[in-house]
Symmetry: none
Subunit: 194 residues, 4 copies
DNA sequence: AATGAATGAGTATTCATTCAT
DNA sequence: AATGAATGAATACTCATTCAT
């Protein structure tokens, strides 16, 4: 089900997340996609290209998940919470993609650049909102970019248990959305005015 | 300078941090250490063994950096700040090791376990202190483990710019200890009593 | 000509017979088979596997050569002579395989076990026939198994000159089937009744 | 005990017999001799040289064992029996050397030549005696060289069980000198006059 | 004389990629 | 469009041999 191209991307996403770029092999991607090895090359010019497209798809799917959460007629905290929640749900549903997009990807330098770019975009989005919150008197006066970085770190930390080993079910179950919200509440308490 | 064994570990540390375990080659480790390829095998039985020892050395050097910061006669916040500062300094001085120890290492499953273990130890240390802070009325009532995870995320986020590309000097210079302290201040504001 | 798999087995058979298992290299097997080195691994999982299959093929081809010589309506001596002749012809036509199957193969312990097994089967076949010959009064009363071992030794000794160096043509030409028969005649004279 | 040189030869003899020339390593020879790896090179110029000397020592020790058995004032059969007995005892006491000297050594072409030389000397010795036995009317008229080959094969076959695996004690115990004598008796019955 | 340390040349094996069908 | 077959280039690891002490 799904076009061959999609099946390849799916298989690649899972495999790259499990083993990293170098340790993953085109042969296993093909096997998991249920097609012949050389067919992969009908759709992608190289292993690098597969990885690039995998990241791109993951990125798009991530940004899609964020869309529409921004300009809502409510407090900045609510907007940020909505975004954070979207992040949480994305990680829960697309664990593999989430791992691929995790900040630290120790492999293939060019991929790191790509990912750093995404990080910058997220920070920009956050800091813009935080700046607005400060202007509107909702948050106290902090360095918006720095606060944005902190928020990103908090999101990653709270989602981290979701990213490890399929079998570690216990840990995962403990990671509820309520706990997640209590976690980011610490951040908001830290920057709210007064 | 330095024993051969140390030179190998140094070269390996840098290379693993740059390329990840799989993409790094024993030959390049040897080249960087300024020795013949097979000499590496006089000191380490296999590439895996090199990696294991690299992690072990990094871990020890990290834990050493934390030592003596714990039982000081002052507020819990001060203790946590001291630990955080030690973390910051460690990352600044041992950038490569720090990257190796970064929470997400997408390669070699057994290494991931090792690193998750370290993460747990750090969370345990943090949450124990936070629990104490709550008991002493310094912090408000929060889930200590959750708060510990948040703190860890904050530390990682604030140190992240130090971990990327040697050439990106501009970003690094912007990461001062003062900024770092202002960053974790957000966390403390979020959990202080009142 | 011949499937790739067969060409590899052929090349391997010759090379193993010439140099032994350890000294033979996969690269040379491939070169002799006229294919790329890695193509070998499309057909066999490892060097060990190549060797195993080579032995298996040699064994089968040897046992095939023996088939149909057993239950003939004539004297046991004639049956044994027929078998011995088949052995002789096999050695002459499949010199390399014959060397592989020679009793003493100083390399790779597990191969030795395999070959000892073959030796046992041959001895069992011989001693069974000899026992029959004794029962029928054709041979005198000797330990059948011991006599079987002796016969095997005689066969090997008489075929030995065929097994060495391709260039030593002179010696080989001297080894005729008539000489071979005169040789085993000594054995028969030694065990015939009266 | 014994000079270093002797200890090396001893260790090498055992190792070559176990694994064959190529699979044996200089390092293990040194380890078994209880000396440093490079010390081996103080006594032997190369691995090949060690092998050559090992064979030479084995050969000498074998020929020594045969000495004095030749010109005795009795029947040729008795002389041959004495030689055969010496062979049997040698194999029993110097199993490793015996394996090295076994007719088929599938490794290192130049060694094969050496061993073929030994084979020729033994055949020459046997056939000379057999010729004498024929001249004296003790044996019937057979091709002396061929008979010599047959005798050699019989000796090897009867000693073969002694050459395999240290642990296979059962088989070895079954190989008594009496059984051995009954075995060669078959040969003698085959060539005795009348 | 003895050896620990060092290494270059090799060896089995893997894998991204190409090509004929 | 799809793929089985083929392979060159790489890579971890081994080992005979050298050399400084």
């Amino acid at each position: 089900m799904g076009s061959k191209r999609e099946r390849i991307l799916h298989a690649a996403e899972a495999l790259f997340a499990e083993k990293g770029f170098t340790a993953a092999t085109v042969e296993e991607v093909a096997r998991r996609a249920g097609i012949g090895k050389s067919t992969v090359y009908e759709y992608f010019g190289s292993k690098d290209e597969i990885f690039r497209q995998t990241l791109k798809a993951g990125l798009e799917s991530y940004l899609d998940a964020m869309k529409g959460r921004l300009k809502q007629p409510c407090s900045v905290r609510d907007v940020l919470t909505a975004i954070a929640t979207a992040h949480f749900n994305f990680v829960k549903e697309h664990t593999f993609t989430a791992r691929l997009l995790a900040d630290e990807y120790n492999d293939t330098p060019w991929a790191r650049q790509w990912l750093l770019g995404l990080r910058e975009r997220r920070i920009a989005m956050f800091s813009s909102l935080i700046r607005q919150g400060i202007a509107e008197g909702e948050f106290r006066l902090v360095d918006p970019r720095m606060a944005a970085e902190v928020l990103l770190g908090v999101l990653n930390a709270l989602c981290a248990p979701l990213l490890n080993g399929k079998n570690d079910g216990k840990n995962k179950d403990a990671v509820t959305i309520e706990r997640f919200h209590r976690g980011i509440a610490i951040f908001f308490e830290g920057i709210l005015a007064k």
